[in-house]
């Protein structure tokens, strides 16, 4: 690998942020363009990587590895495989659109975009790091920028933005605290097994799978709590709706779109692979919590009147599907989990960007105050409905096949339990259509006649994400083959361990 493409992808937004530090603070256009360029570079390159990745070869590719901390066995280890690559791509897609979704930011734009770029970098880092320590470095980078962005540019509705921000931050940090304990314990144990400290995922996987069943169980519980609270696993989800409601559009997009997914990603790439026995032990619980999340959050969303809360709860419910899928611990399930994370990412980001525009134009997100917007702002309506349809899992849009695969494997493994989860699609259809219909359709309101439709760069999120939404729906193999190439070896490891280490 002559050209270090991954570091460039990682650093491009950071570089843009650095440039922004020296841009005068009232050159709004310039600031935004710089940010856009930075993210565009990353996006273009990650497309290049995505399609340059050799699926038949599989495994880690575009590897960058340097010694970092000798005595902790940490190496600066960047690489991509079939699981991290979709996530990387997703991050950049959303990051790029997020820049444009927040194009009309008027107050203190320079700080906003600097923070946004840092945020994007951090998220990317978690997905391409294959050393647990580096992973953790990036894992929490994102928390503080988000806090600051929410308190400055957020909006107070049911709860104040300060409350929402603090809740979101502390909740996730406490979660990661537990995670950290688990990781440190795992690390110290791994030293005695490996003989030398080594924090790369692969090494930890080897060590972890040799741990006693008991150790694996309690360690996995810690990791599950850590990652679970990030992926808003029921009942550790309550930060999510408030947080999204409080956050500015771009943050909601990135948080719901990709940040959450770090939880699922970590759960698969770290927790499950490293502690298969533990995973096997906790799988039923994960499934139950996942199902609970699906049904519970779906009903929660049904009761909402604030658009962002609707989507907030719906994202909790969708992540429930991911939990079930992970709990299945088989190839199809894991495929579905990763694919669903990707699909939901695109969908949620589009949803939030559209809601952001609606809020920007009508200054309300309160559904009863709206109606008939489709007549004043048709393009906006199209985007909104696309997101809505994707969210209820309409075939032909990206989120159908992932959900279907999840259902297959869930139905196979958990039978009756899964049925409840699958029933969620009915409620989903109910609240999504209700929100869409009451916002966009019905008699147009005169007070919104002055609104002008999204135009120019405002269309970027709709175009970018919408395209992915449709293409991914019509040609799911583009996504699934990639994921499959990553999941199959991973699952092979797990099943080996589970067969050998029969000490369940």
């Amino acid at each position: 690998m002559s050209f270090p493409v991954l570091p460039v992808i990682l650093l491009a937004p950071l570089a843009a942020a650095l440039v922004l530090v020296f841009v005068p603070k009232d050159e709004h256009k310039l600031i935004k363009s710089v940010a856009a360029i930075g993210t565009f570079v990353s996006m273009a390159l990650s497309f290049y990587v995505y399609f340059g990745y050799d699926q038949t070869l599989g495994g880690l590719q575009y590897v960058i590895r340097h010694d970092w901390i000798q005595d902790l066995g940490v190496t600066f280890f960047l690489a991509v495989d079939g699981i991290s690559l979709p996530m990387l791509l997703l991050t950049n897609l959303i990051g790029f659109s997020a820049i444009f979704a927040s194009w009309n930011i008027g107050t203190r734009p320079r700080e906003f975009f600097i923070l946004l770029l840092v945020l994007i970098t951090g998220v990317m880092g978690t997905f391409i790091a294959h050393d647990l320590f580096i992973f953790l470095l990036f894992y929490e980078v994102v928390v503080i920028p988000i806090y600051i962005m929410v308190v400055i540019w957020g909006s107070s509705k049911r709860v104040t933005k300060e409350y929402a921000a603090m809740k979101l931050t502390i909740y996730l940090l406490i979660g990661s605290g537990f995670l950290l304990v688990g990781v440190i314990a795992l690390f110290t144990k791994s030293i005695s097994i490996l003989g030398a400290p080594d924090m790369s995922f692969s090494a930890l996987a080897i060590a972890g799978s040799q741990l006693s069943a008991f150790d694996q169980k309690w360690l996995f519980a810690l990791l599950l709590f850590g990652f679970g609270s990030l992926i808003s696993m029921w009942p550790f989800h309550s930060w999510s709706p408030d947080g999204y409601a409080g956050a500015p559009t771009a943050v909601s997009m990135i948080h719901a779109g990709v940040l959450k997914k770090i939880g699922g990603y970590g759960l698969i790439k770290v927790a499950v692979v490293t502690l298969p026995v533990g995973a096997h032990f906790w799988a039923p619980w994960m499934a139950v919590l996942g199902i609970a999340g699906v049904a519970y959050a779906a009903f929660g969303a049904l009761a909402q009147k604030d658009l962002k809360y609707v989507v907030g709860y719906s994202s909790v419910s969708h992540m429930g599907y991911v939990m079930i899928a992970v709990a299945c611990l088989d190839v199809i399930g894991l495929n579905g989990a990763v694919a669903n994370m990707f699909a939901h990412g695109v969908m949620a980001a589009l949803f939030f960007s559209m809601i952001g525009f609606i809020y920007e134009k009508t200054h309300t997100r309160w559904i009863p105050d709206m109606g008939g917007l489709a007549h004043q702002t048709p393009k906006l309506a199209v985007g909104f409905m696309m997101a809505a349809m994707a969210s209820l899992g309409l075939p032909g849009l990206i989120s159908f096949m992932p959900e279907f695969t999840i259902f297959v494997s869930a139905f196979d493994n958990y039978g009756g339990l899964a049925v409840i989860g699958i029933a969620g699609i009915i409620i989903t259809a109910l609240y999504v259509l209700r929100a869409g219909a009451n916002t966009l359709f019905g008699p147009p309101r005169t007070e919104y006649d002055h609104l002008e439709d999204i135009k120019g760069v405002e269309l970027v999120p709709l175009v970018v994400l919408g395209t992915v939404l449709v293409v991914g729906g019509l040609l799911p193999s583009l996504l699934f083959d990639m994921i499959n190439s990553g999941v199959v070896p991973l699952h092979a490891e797990i099943s080996n361990v589970l067969q050998l280490g029969g000490n369940l």
């Binding site: 408030d242 190839v331 199809i332 007549h375 309409l394 297959v408 009915i426 359709f441 193999s477 499959n484």
Partner: protein, 645 residues
């Protein structure tokens, strides 16, 4: 040659309308005429190919045994050796699908042509046509699917389009709600269907229809009879909603909120028959499970009767037609339920023509009367709009089942197979339904087209784009039934399940009786609605059986029940969950946070600022540590005591 091409490129048929949709959406939208042209043109071409393909299929008999299948990999999950799931998209051509292909494209073409006139001047003109194209495309995709999942996808897309089209006048609250109702109702049923599909994948490991049918045929290798029953029933739930069977028929009458061509499209050719088609396709599954078959048959018969009893009291012209559709669909289900793919498909075929005809006719009427829908406010239209009226009458004869019109043959076929199957009760129900059908349909005709004119109406004949389809379809409604006359039943040789069961002797009894029933129905309608100008008898009857009348007029209050359920049960529990979330789940979180703060405040107070308090704390600390040391350390306790001594 060209036929060969059509046969092996049948995917063009759905593709063309799809392309039309894309072109209109992205390019042609600003120019209505162009959009219309693209849409109709695309549809017509598709129809052309479909015709060729159908011809190809019907001309060589091998396809009746071995359907022509070609598919491409769409998605693979897992590796060989491990539980792997491969999903193909492809084309499966056999007489059934070929017939559907032709029928759908043919009718869709004329409906689109008709819409050109009907929708003239509507602001959403081109958008409407793009929707129509997409609708047709997805329906055609559904028809040619070689894979159950592919079918499901098309199925859902059809649902989406119906949502868009029913809600086309989205500024009307009623339209909006009707669209939502349609989608959600179908969603509920799709849940069952989806479960069924999942079950099939998991049990049989494939979704390709052909493979599936083979594996199902000897299902005992894979699963138990119980599972099979469950699967069959689950799969049947989907069609219940899509084809408006009881109790999920509620969305269908409301679907009238859409523009009339849409109603025609939905009710005649496409959406609703999708359910019947699916059951027909999956007949190999139901066939293994007698229980499921009976379920289908009973549902069908009951729905037919049930809808008919509602239809007799409705006032809105399109509503009457809608319920008649529900009832006719019941017939088809009944036919499939008693195991005769032939009869079911045949009725679907004829029904498509005369029902489309009648809807378009109704549309033409509404168009003329500026959307005045109540049949009681019409009358004597025959003088002002002859084409519409006469074609409508033909349709009426067809649906009532007067020989030799199309409806007669198919309905007769159904009655015969029901009778031969020995389902006497079902036969009685079906026969009675036939009587009611004839009655309410002619009630509509007499009220709307005959009798004295209403002065306030100024009807006028519709433009040619609307009349041509009427005429064509009317011709169809007269003739298409002749394919399946008992004398030379070509139909039964093409489309059948199992082996071509062809009843040798002609069931004269059934034939005559059904004809008589139809005539009786019409005569009753005539006496009640045309002969006595004042309609005294009717009013008297309505008074006499007030409760029954209301029951029927209010559709047995089923919508109200659903509404109640939705509001109290669903929304109620939603509220409940939400409150729980805020006050319990969130309450715990905030509680913990508050606890932290409070303890902080509490400890803070200890910091009195008095130097000597600090000193005191210091020494208390020393003591505490000393005690700790004694008890935390391993053997210190004994050691201290020993040391002191």
């Amino acid at each position: 040659m060209l036929v060969e091409f059509a046969l092996h490129h049948a995917w063009l048929v759905p593709l063309l309308p799809a392309l039309a949709f894309l072109i209109i959406v992205f390019l042609a939208r600003p120019w209505p005429k162009l959009s219309a042209f693209i849409s109709v043109g695309g549809m017509a071409t598709a129809c052309f190919f479909a015709t060729l393909a159908a011809y190809g299929v019907f001309t060589n008999h091998q396809y009746t045994e071995h359907p022509l299948v070609y598919a491409a990999r769409w998605l693979t999950l897992g590796l060989p050796g491990m539980p792997e799931l491969q999903i193909n998209v492809g084309v499966q051509l056999d007489p059934t699908s070929a017939m559907m292909l032709f029928m759908v494209s043919f009718i869709a073409t004329f409906i689109q042509l008709y819409s050109v006139g009907y929708m003239k001047g509507d602001p959403g003109f081109s958008v409407f046509f793009s929707y129509l194209s997409l609708f047709a495309a997805s329906m055609l995709l559904l028809v040619i699917s070689s894979n159950l999942l592919q079918m499901f996808i098309a199925w859902e897309l059809v649902g989406l389009c119906s949502y868009l089209l029913i809600g086309f006048y989205s500024h009307k609250i009623s339209a909006r709600e009707a669209a939502k109702k349609a989608f959600v109702t179908c969603r509920v049923a799709d849940f069952g269907l989806l479960l069924g599909i999942l079950g099939l994948v998991i049990t049989f490991g494939t979704l390709d229809l052909v493979e599936l049918s083979e594996r199902v045929a000897n299902f005992r290798e894979y699963t138990t009879f119980g599972t099979m029953t469950l699967l069959a029933i689950l799969v049947f739930i989907g069609p219940i909603a899509k084809s408006g069977q009881f109790p999920l028929h509620v969305w269908l009458p409301d679907a009238m909120e859409g523009p009339t061509p849409v109603s025609a499209l939905i009710h005649a050719a496409t959406m609703v028959v999708a359910g019947v088609y699916l059951v027909g396709r999956m007949l190999f599954l139901f066939h293994e499970v007698p229980v499921a078959m009976d379920l289908v048959a009973i549902t069908g018969a009951f729905t037919a009767l049930f809808a008919a009893t509602i239809a007799i009291t409705q006032r809105e012209i399109k509503r009457i037609l809608a319920y008649s559709t529900v009832s006719q669909l019941g017939y088809m289900m009944l036919a499939l339920g008693v195991g005769s793919l032939t009869a079911g498909m045949f009725h679907m075929w004829t029904h498509a023509f005369f029902k489309a005809l009648m809807f378009l006719g109704a549309g033409s009427v509404l168009h003329a009367l500026h959307h005045k829908a109540d049949v009681w406010e019409m009358g004597g239209l025959v003088k002002k709009m002859p084409i519409t009226s006469w074609t409508f009458v033909i349709g009426g004869l067809a649906i009532a089942g007067i020989p030799p019109f199309a409806g007669f043959w198919s309905k007769d076929e159904i009655l015969v197979v029901t009778l031969n199957g020995g389902h006497y009760i079902l036969y009685a129900m079906a026969a009675f339904t036939a009587f009611l059908t004839a009655f309410y349909m002619w009630r509509l005709i007499f009220l709307a087209f005959y009798g004295e004119e209403k002065p306030e109406n100024h009807p006028h004949e519709s433009p040619w784009t609307m009349c041509v389809p009427l005429i064509v379809l009317a011709a169809g409604a007269m003739t298409v039934g002749l394919l399946g006359t008992p004398w030379n039943n070509i139909w039964a040789e093409w489309i059948f399940f199992g082996e071509a069961h062809h009843s040798g002797e002609i069931a004269w009894g059934a034939m005559i009786s059904s004809a008589v029933i139809a005539v009786a129905g019409i005569y009753l309608a005539y006496t009640l609605y045309l002969k006595d100008k004042e309609k005294v008898k009717v009013k008297a009857l309505a008074e006499r059986y007030k409760s029954l009348y209301n029951l029927s007029f209010n559709k047995y209050y089923i919508d109200e029940m659903y509404l109640w359920f939705n509001h109290t049960m669903v929304d109620g529990s939603a509220k409940l969950f939400y409150l729980f979330d805020i006050y319990v789940v969130d309450g715990i979180v905030n509680g913990l946070g508050g606890f932290g703060k409070l303890s902080g405040e509490g400890l803070r107070v200890l910091q009195t600022g008095r130097l000597q308090n600090y000193a005191l704390v210091f020494f208390l600390g020393v003591l505490a540590i000393a005690v700790l040391m004694v008890f935390a350390g391993p053997s210190t306790a004994s050691l201290v005591l020993g040391g002191v001594m």
